[in-house]
């Protein structure tokens, strides 16, 4: 790709991007959110047409007028937001668009067999081809997505943050598959925010910034600080805020207490407490019950037994409205589908949980509502600083800020964060960390779930390690080592 530009009205998403990928290499694409990575991928996938610039494929200039054309050339894309049809079976999803069929009749047996073969080559023979995709876990869906990409005669696979929903061992498996692919001469364009991964599998790195290529074809061994500097003009990758009120901690009162929370199949006998001003991190593999525990605490699901106590008062199980009333807030994992009203303005998204405060007998005082929401949004330095903008047009980090602003406005005692930095770029992460710490310092009890161990160790005061639905270890986060936590988390699943 040479000199690719793509303009949207009012914004130049790509402004002269150069990218060169060779067969058999893992080429990593780095850049902050909004740097143009997603747009670039869509151009490659044939979903967007560039306004200028040339695409060269195998030495020949090509045009990719449609996704089908891209696929015919052997370019497959695995998007960040999985694009699977929930209601169809695994096999149907894999062969969607190029069904194994004769005379318009699908050949079910053959499809299932081919799907099974693909899935076991990906190391996941346990996913049955007949299963409905909607019933699979995010990690399994990712595997199905990959199987779909491989079901074409693929020569270039584009992966947009494939590891975001995966746990450590699943990432290992992904890397193994990528290794096999590249050995067979397939090129991989790999997008990730995680430097460690780039280090492990990357061959070369291209860095995008503001729609431009700022560095192309760097070796993957380039020091992290140099790469981050290229992306941001900044030096360090993760900036964790100081653990502030630590000395005062034991004296603070307990805000959230969870007792013997049990949901067979998800988690067993989970008990812990969070004090005011404390940040507690939950670490565990996908499927260890992390998110399920948060949801049960929030009342979004009803646990089989156990109790949740906020400020000394037990919450009725399975009732979100009661939890919110008691001062509990949740920033869910899937921001777009579980937290935001994408078409609505930032103000409306922020105020939705506190409407009652701006109303008298149901009558909204919209000026007060807008002023209060705008103030919270400004305090969080949400960009662009336009509270009337549709929230769906913001970057991941700013969308997360909008969700935080919602609970800030509501004023909560307990804040539950589910993968707070998923899909958030490196620069914005540090900002979010600082924000969470600030919230805690103001007396909020924070409980957060993360699949990134360094994040838990860096941000939390205390870490709870989960394995197969049970808390197996609890310690001051500062005293824990990443390798130790990984050991704890994966002990049972080791061969």
């Amino acid at each position: 790709m040479r000199g690719i530009t793509k303009e949207f009205p009012g914004a130049k998403a790509l402004d002269g991007v150069d990218l060169e990928v060779e067969p058999g290499e893992v080429h990593c694409l780095l850049g902050q959110n909004g740097a143009g990575k997603s747009t670039l991928i869509k151009v490659l996938a044939g979903a967007h047409q560039p306004d200028s610039g040339d695409l060269t494929w195998d030495g020949e200039p090509v045009v990719l007028p449609s996704p089908t054309a891209a696929m015919r050339h052997g370019i497959s894309t695995i998007y960040q937001e999985l694009d699977l049809v929930d209601g169809l079976s695994v096999a149907d999803n894999i062969f969607l668009g190029h069904e194994r069929a004769r005379y318009g009749l699908t050949r079910r047996g053959e499809t299932a067999a081919a799907a099974r073969e693909l899935l076991s080559s990906l190391g996941h023979p346990e996913i049955a081809p007949g299963t409905e995709v909607g019933s699979l876990s995010p990690a399994q869906q990712q595997i199905v997505s990959m199987a779909r990409a491989l079901s074409h005669d693929t020569r270039l696979i584009v992966m947009d943050e494939p590891s975001a929903v995966l746990t450590q061992d699943e990432v290992g498996n992904l890397f193994r598959v990528i290794g096999e692919l590249t050995a067979a001469g397939v090129a991989v364009l790999y997008i990730s925010h995680r430097m460690g991964e780039i280090r492990t599998i990357g061959t070369r790195v291209t860095v995008l910034k503001d729609g431009r290529t700022v560095a192309g074809g760097l070796p993957a061994t380039t020091p992290t600080s140099q790469l981050v500097a290229l992306m941001t003009g900044r030096e360090s990758a993760y900036d964790f805020p100081q653990r502030g009120g630590q000395r005062a901690l034991p004296a603070r009162e307990e805000v959230l207490r969870v007792e013997h929370l049990t949901q067979p199949g998800s988690f067993e006998d989970v008990s812990f407490s969070v004090r005011a001003g404390e940040i507690v991190g939950l670490v565990g593999l996908v499927g260890s019950g992390r998110s399920e525990i948060l949801h049960a605490v929030y009342g979004a699901t009803r646990p089989a037994s156990g109790s949740v106590v906020v400020d000394g008062r037990p919450l009725p199980p399975g009732r979100v409205t009661a939890a919110v009333k008691a001062g509990v807030g949740l920033a869910p994992e899937e921001r777009k589908s579980q937290a935001l009203f994408l078409q609505d303005s930032v103000v409306r998204n922020v105020s939705i949980s506190s409407l009652g405060r701006f109303a008298r007998f149901g009558w909204l005082d919209r000026r007060r509502e807008a002023a209060a929401a705008t103030a919270r949004v400004a305090a969080l330095d949400l960009r662009p600083a336009d509270p009337q903008r549709a929230v769906g047009t913001l970057s991941g980090g700013n969308q997360q800020k909008a969700v935080l602003a919602r609970w800030l406005l509501r004023g909560c005692r307990v804040l539950l964060l589910d993968e707070p930095t998923r899909g958030v770029d490196v620069g914005a992460r540090s900002e979010l960390y600082a924000l969470v710490r600030e919230l805690a310092d103001s007396g909020v009890a924070v409980l957060f779930v993360s699949s990134e161990v360094p994040e838990v160790l860096g941000l939390a005061d205390r870490a709870l390690v989960l394995r197969e639905g049970r808390i197996v270890h609890e310690a001051e986060a500062a005293s824990l080592k990443e390798s130790h936590v990984l050991d704890l988390v994966m002990e049972e699943s080791r061969p």
Partner: protein
């Protein structure tokens, strides 16, 4: 043909200032139709915030209505008379009131196919000999209570019984009309309470009471939708029910209330329709569900929920009644009328699609 081409400039006109503002004026018009970060948001800021979200679409519809006026005036000398315009408004009154409720339900992510049947059962129940013995107040009270109870039944089944709205209200459509037939024994029940019939015949300043009733309910509905917490939550529940639930909104209770609201509107509409026909009958309100849904949709409300405009819905009702009026004035048969209605629905949905095609990035 001119119907289809002319609204477009009107739709794009408000875009021009936004374009100038963001400094991309030179790139020209057509590319603006493509997705962009937020021409919609810019547009929203530009216009006075009288009618949130869909005012641009509503403007287009207003133009359609004006065009219909021109066509009407050109084809019939009687069209522009006060009598005729009052006539149009009067025939829009009943369906207009029903459409208010339907708009709430659809924005809230549901649909109510039972509105016509609720009108029938409310009409029959409020005109039984027993009810009529209580006079005007008893009859109106009965109609509204019957409407809200049937709506409550819909709402409970949908929100707490977790039966799909389409199925629930389809079942209700059949069985409520059945109840109406059983109650009335398929006879029309003549209203002997004179004060009740006067609801349809009384005029204030030459305009029938029915028109004031509709206008009042539309204004109340508009305020409820756009100025209250209830309205705001309706948009949220329809736009993303899961996010609404996790934001602490009582989604099920809210959904239930939406159907109660629709039922209440049907009860009021039943009073108006019964007074017009001076009798209650089980065949009243036939196919009103289709008319009201069509009006909501051409009014710019997304069938999927989450976005919409009450003002647009009412314009939709007026467009349909004006078309009917023009056809009647010109002695055209109803079959052509139905075809025209169908075409208008299609064109409106097509227009909506070009607007909705912008993905939320």
């Amino acid at each position: 043909m001119s119907d289809q081409t002319t609204p477009r400039p009107a739709q794009e006109a408000p875009v021009v200032p936004a374009q100038g503002r963001s400094g991309t004026g030179a790139t020209g018009g057509p590319s603006l139709v493509k997705e962009g970060p937020d021409p919609g948001a810019a547009r929203r800021r530009q216009l006075p915030r009288l009618f949130p979200l869909h005012q641009v679409h509503s403007l287009g519809l207003l133009v359609v209505l004006l065009l219909l006026g021109v066509v009407g005036a050109a084809t019939s000398g009687n069209f522009l008379t006060t009598d005729n315009i009052v006539n149009i408004l009067t025939s829009a009154a009943v369906i207009g009131v029903i459409t208010v409720g339907q708009t709430f339900v659809i924005i809230g992510g549901g649909i109510d196919l039972s509105v016509g049947a609720i009108v029938a059962v409310a009409s029959v129940w409020c005109t039984t000999v027993a009810t009529q013995s209580y006079g005007l107040g008893g009859m109106v009270f009965t109609a509204v209570v019957v409407g809200s109870v049937v709506g409550l039944l819909n709402g409970v089944l949908i929100a707490y019984g977790k039966i799909v709205a389409f199925i629930t209200t389809l079942a209700m459509m059949a069985s409520a009309r059945g109840v109406a037939e059983r109650l009335s024994d398929r006879q029309s029940q003549v209203v002997t309470v004179e004060s009740f019939n006067r609801i349809a015949t009384d005029k204030i300043l030459g305009v029938p009471l029915l028109v004031y009733l509709m206008a009042g309910i539309v204004v109340l509905g508009w305020l409820l939708l756009n100025r209250t917490t209830f309205g705001r939550r309706t948009f949220a529940v329809g736009g993303n029910p899961e996010a609404a639930r996790l934001a602490g909104i009582a989604v099920r209770r809210h959904t239930m209330l939406l159907y109660v609201l629709s039922g209440v509107c049907c009860g009021i509409a039943a009073v108006m329709l019964t007074a017009r026909t001076t009798s209650g009958a089980s065949n009243l309100g036939n196919l009103y569900e289709l008319d009201s849904i069509a009006a909501v949709i051409i009014g710019g409300t997304l069938l999927a929920g989450g976005r919409g405009s009450l003002f647009g819905s009412i314009l939709g009702v007026l467009v349909f009644t004006t078309i009917t009026n023009i056809f009647v004035l010109n002695n055209l048969t109803t079959d052509i009328q139905e075809i025209a209605k169908g075409l208008i629905i299609l064109v409106a949905v097509l227009l909506q699609r070009t607007r909705g095609a912008r993905p939320p990035a």
